[in-house]
Amino acid sequence: MKKSFKRLVIDTATKYMYIALVINDLEVGYVYQVGDNNHSVTIMPLLEELLQKQSIELKDLDEIIVGVGPGSYTGVRIGVTVGKMIAYLNGIKVSTVSSLALMASHSDDVNVLPLIDARRGNAFMAFFKQENHRISYVEEDVLMNIDLFKSKHKEPYDVLESGKPQIEKVLNSDLLTEIGNIHELVPNYLQVTEAERNLKK
């Protein structure tokens, strides 16, 4: 029997936590639940439960796919830390994906605009198109004024602020980036800290 290929997907950059177990391109189990500031407390127990249901141990995994943001700074760090540690401890491959891309994959529309609110009229956004069940970027992740970003796109589109990813679509896209050196994995904050901005002034 051919050994199955086991992948774990983790994304905690938004209010929703998404963890999924994918075996041979099929999502065999997942958690998608809201947990405002709770990801840090719940992610490991939920992950343990998810693995137990499939009788899989962390060390059985072959690849980790991590949503690296943009999104909540505190939130995204949880998932990235967990994914980074699993990959490091077991010496397995890790690939990153935009948390906006994961969100966009929820939609079945041709044009999709995922949006994570960043206050004061700004948001983390991107623009995707989907053709023949393949998802790809039209405009990459940005942090900018919501109205300004929307005004750039004239064609009809689906705006998403949450949604369970359709992970098979993402796995079949060019949206994944493999990380060569695990120690270099960090979130994509899309923005330097306020302190750094003030220092440059």
Binding site: K59, T81, V82, L89, N90, I182, A195, L199
Partner: protein, 334 residues
């Protein structure tokens, strides 16, 4: 018993392997101090980002230096608070992954119990003992009647002593962190100002440093206005004498009241040479211990040491629901 210590409560990412509570096999500390220097203090968001960046590297170094595999570890001890919440969560979640990955029990440890147990690594402990915990976030007198039993006798009513050092250093234009530079200059200056010793004779074991800090800052301000020459050395000496007088006096008072067998000084300010000198000069009837310099500032060896005794005392571990706490009571049982 091999304990893996994990400490990320502020701006040091640290992992350590300690055998039986005091044999330090490795103690890797990735310090961010040079990054935060330019901001005059620790920036929480930057600290959290740096922890994520360095976390796996620090674990890797700690295990390699100890020459062990994760399978050899018997217990994981991770700081659960108090501290910067975003920073704490990185160490806690990384530790939880190891726990689940290798089925190793995990316990959450109070940061201050770590600072106290930093002393155990070198000197052991004899009870009852009195611990003076002095750092950027803490100024407390704690009585220990046995291992892992903490009774808070008193604490600062406002600024922590390390905080007062930082603020005075900033006003004198000495940069951040304030403790080491004031300590250095204090050796060269004279005590020309008679700064107040707040609460030195109060009828309790509490402290207050905000009044002293304001007094120093006002004095500096007035001298600037009058265009008088300001010698940071004399300011440093006068300030440090006032601070250490209060710390030592209160410690002596508690020592006599509770008739303790030894005194330990813990936390970042335990590195202060003026405090070390005055403590040893004025307390001669019982031993006064200070941790080795590397164990004064935040490090994971002290967390592993404390975790070892916490586990021995309570005999149970935590589950994967451990959370970080920016504030956390030391006396509360686990």
């Amino acid at each position: 018993m091999y304990v893996l210590g994990v400490e990320t409560s502020c701006d040091e990412t640290s992992v350590s392997v300690v055998k039986d509570g005091n044999i330090v096999l490795s103690n890797v500390v990735l310090s961010q101090i040079d990054i935060h220097k330019s901001y005059g203090g620790v920036v929480p968001e930057i600290a959290s980002r740096e922890h994520v960046k360095g976390i796996t590297y620090v674990f890797d170094q700690a295990l390699k230096k100890a020459n062990l595999d994760y399978q050899d570890i018997d217990l994981i001890a991770v700081t659960k608070g108090p501290g910067l919440i975003g920073s704490l969560l990185i160490g806690i979640n990384a530790a939880k992954v190891i726990s689940l990955n290798f089925h190793i029990p995990i316990i959450g440890v109070h940061h201050i119990s770590g600072h106290i147990y930093a002393n155990y690594i070198e000197q052991g402990m004899e009870f009852p003992l009195l611990a003076l915990v002095v750092s950027g976030g803490h100024t407390e007198l704690i009585l220990m009647k046995e291992h892992f039993s903490f009774e808070k006798l008193g604490e600062t009513q406002d600024d922590a002593v390390g905080e007062a050092y930082d603020k005075v250093a900033r006003v004198l234009g000495l940069g951040y962190p304030g403790g080491p530079v004031i300590d250095r200059l204090a050796k060269e200056g004279k005590e020309v100002f008679d700064f107040p010793r707040p609460m030195i004779n109060s009828n309790d074991f509490n402290f207050s440093f905000s009044g002293l800090k304001s007094h120093v800052i006002n004095k500096h301000h007035n001298m600037l206005q009058r265009k008088e020459t300001i010698d940071p050395k004399d300011f440093s000496t006068s300030f440090q004498e006032a601070v250490t007088d209060v710390l030592v006096q209160k410690t002596i008072k508690a020592k006599e009241y509770y008739d303790v067998k030894q005194i330990i000084v813990a936390g970042g300010v335990a590195a202060n040479s003026g405090l070390r000198k005055k403590m040893k000069e004025r307390i001669t009837d019982i031993p006064v211990y200070f941790p080795k310099m590397v164990y004064c500032t935040d490090n994971a060896a002290m967390i592993a040491a404390a975790g070892y005794f916490q586990y021995k005392k309570y005999g149970k571990s935590d589950d994967l629901y451990i959370n970080g706490h920016s504030r956390l009571d030391l006396e509360r049982r686990m």
